[in-house]
Symmetry: C2
């Protein structure tokens, strides 16, 4: 049997290349710049490294980031595992990819993909591994056909992994990407899974690959369909306002962000998820029956597939 | 003896009026709009109400908010008291004012003031009250004379309350407004105090009034001196970038914000502290020896008074 760490790392590094190449092609002009970084133990608990790639000021993508990292720490922070609190404090290894894309055109949704593999090595018991990740979509002006397509891809890639898999991870996504203080979801959801090891390594890894590979099938057709739509200052201002909710979610709630900051991760790589430009406005309410008012109807869990 | 709740509320309501009037005068054009709100027990643990006042799109102040609130809850959230964890879960009352001002001109610093009074009523023991608050300054292009003036006012208002008071609360401010993941302070500090009751009610209340009344003496002269300075896109872009750190602090670290969101507070009032426009940029580093690079030297605790 091959080494799972080597296999997962090889897949994720290849996925990063494919994601960046596809986003560059969709953008039609801009290129990713790359920062390779290493983190010695130094002042923090972390060692390891990563490769952060950021595309800025593209024609289609105002900002996009695709991060690969492989890090080890001597004490697993609580944010890393929701369901295994007994592992907090154990030595650990994590390998993962995070992608966040902030398009320029307000008719193109923002999106996020994450696939990660963890291993924790508690004292006196066997090492434990698990996969986690998912992808979710955050439209500003949603189109039913786009959301249906997004969820159809998610549903279809889950199908080989059990009849309940899509429904379970779709629901988890709705629950995870929920802003309690706003009483709304971050967007129209997708898939979210964590602590996945019950299928055995090979099948779990195959699922992770299905999610990673499926992302572009889910997202790119929506980009192609919407990237040339006309928009004006009104739509831009609404996009900037709604991006504020993205900031609120990532900084107040997101476990990946908090895990990264808590564990002494590389701040610039973690916070590349934040939108390039944002606005906040006290008491903003869209006009009744306006296109902007319709978004609220999409920020409640709904069956899409 | 008069009722402390009535006295504190009367002072804070009057302070809100004075703060708003002074900011309007300094702005020279814009006016505060007011939202009075009440919060029945409803879905949350809170009842009470408040008065949120926001000035938007002023000539000098791009956004300013001055919130008064008086709320009660049946279970004190952990974020409310740093030093008395045994009070978490007790019925409580809080009365407070929060002010955040985001000026338009990057040469005018952003600022924040908070003064609050808490009472917790644990079962089987006597009620406990304490004061908290302070003010702090967040310049983009700092001027030594402005920072020295700011701290001189803070020092002088503390002087009647003991020889160590300024030093203690200045240090607490530097420690509290520290972004660990950036290894920098939010700004040049000021005063921060919490859990204050050891001087007895009258003297503690007098200190709260000294802080509340002293704020305008500390801030307005800086506004007057800098508000007509010429600036261009370069300074504006740096201001928007640095405002990102303000967002990071308030959403990741600020106990007042987290307390408000945890306790089911009024989200719009709590998050009026966020800047109206912000930008985030991956890997931004100011050019060596530029005015923007100099800011870093001010984001370390320093003796100013």
């Amino acid at each position: 049997m091959s080494d799972p760490v080597i296999d997962v790392e090889a897949y994720l590094r290849g996925l990063q290349d494919r994601l960046c190449a596809a986003l560059e092609a969709a953008d039609g002009g801009a290129s990713f710049m790359e920062d390779a970084w290493t983190r010695p133990h130094g002042g923090t608990d972390l060692r390891g490294g990563g490769c952060t790639r950021v595309l800025a000021n593209g024609a289609v993508f105002e900002q996009g980031g695709v991060n690969f990292s492989k890090v080890e720490g001597s004490r697993l922070p609580p944010a890393a595992t929701a369901h295994r609190p007994q592992l907090a404090g154990a030595p650990w290894t994590a390998i993962g990819i995070s992608l966040v894309v902030h398009p320029r055109n307000p008719y193109v949704p923002t999106t996020h993909l994450n696939v990660r593999w963890f291993q924790a090595r508690p004292e006196n018991t066997a090492a434990v591994w698990w996969f986690g990740g998912g992808f979710d979509l955050t439209p500003f002006y949603p189109f039913d056909e786009d959301v249906a397509h997004w969820h159809a891809v998610a549903r279809d890639l889950c199908a080989p992994f059990g009849a309940e898999t899509y429904a379970k991870y779709k629901k988890w996504c709705d629950e995870y990407f929920f802003l309690k203080h706003r009483n709304e979801t971050r967007g129209v959801g997708g898939l979210f899974f964590d602590d996945l090891n019950e299928w055995g390594f090979e099948r779990c890894f195959a699922f992770q690959r299905a999610v990673g590979d499926g992302f572009l099938d889910a997202y790119l057709p929506i980009v192609e369909k919407r990237k040339n739509m006309q928009f004006g200052e009104r739509e831009r201002e609404f996009q900037l306002y709604r991006r504020g909710r993205y900031v609120e979610f990532n900084l107040v709630h997101d476990r990946g962000t908090l895990f990264g900051l808590q564990s002494g991760g590389r701040t610039e790589s973690i916070l590349m998820s934040l939108p390039p430009r944002v606005r906040f406005e006290y008491g903003y309410t869209p006009k009744a029956d306006s296109p902007e008012a319709q978004l609220a109807e999409y920020l409640k869990p709904r069956d899409w597939a």
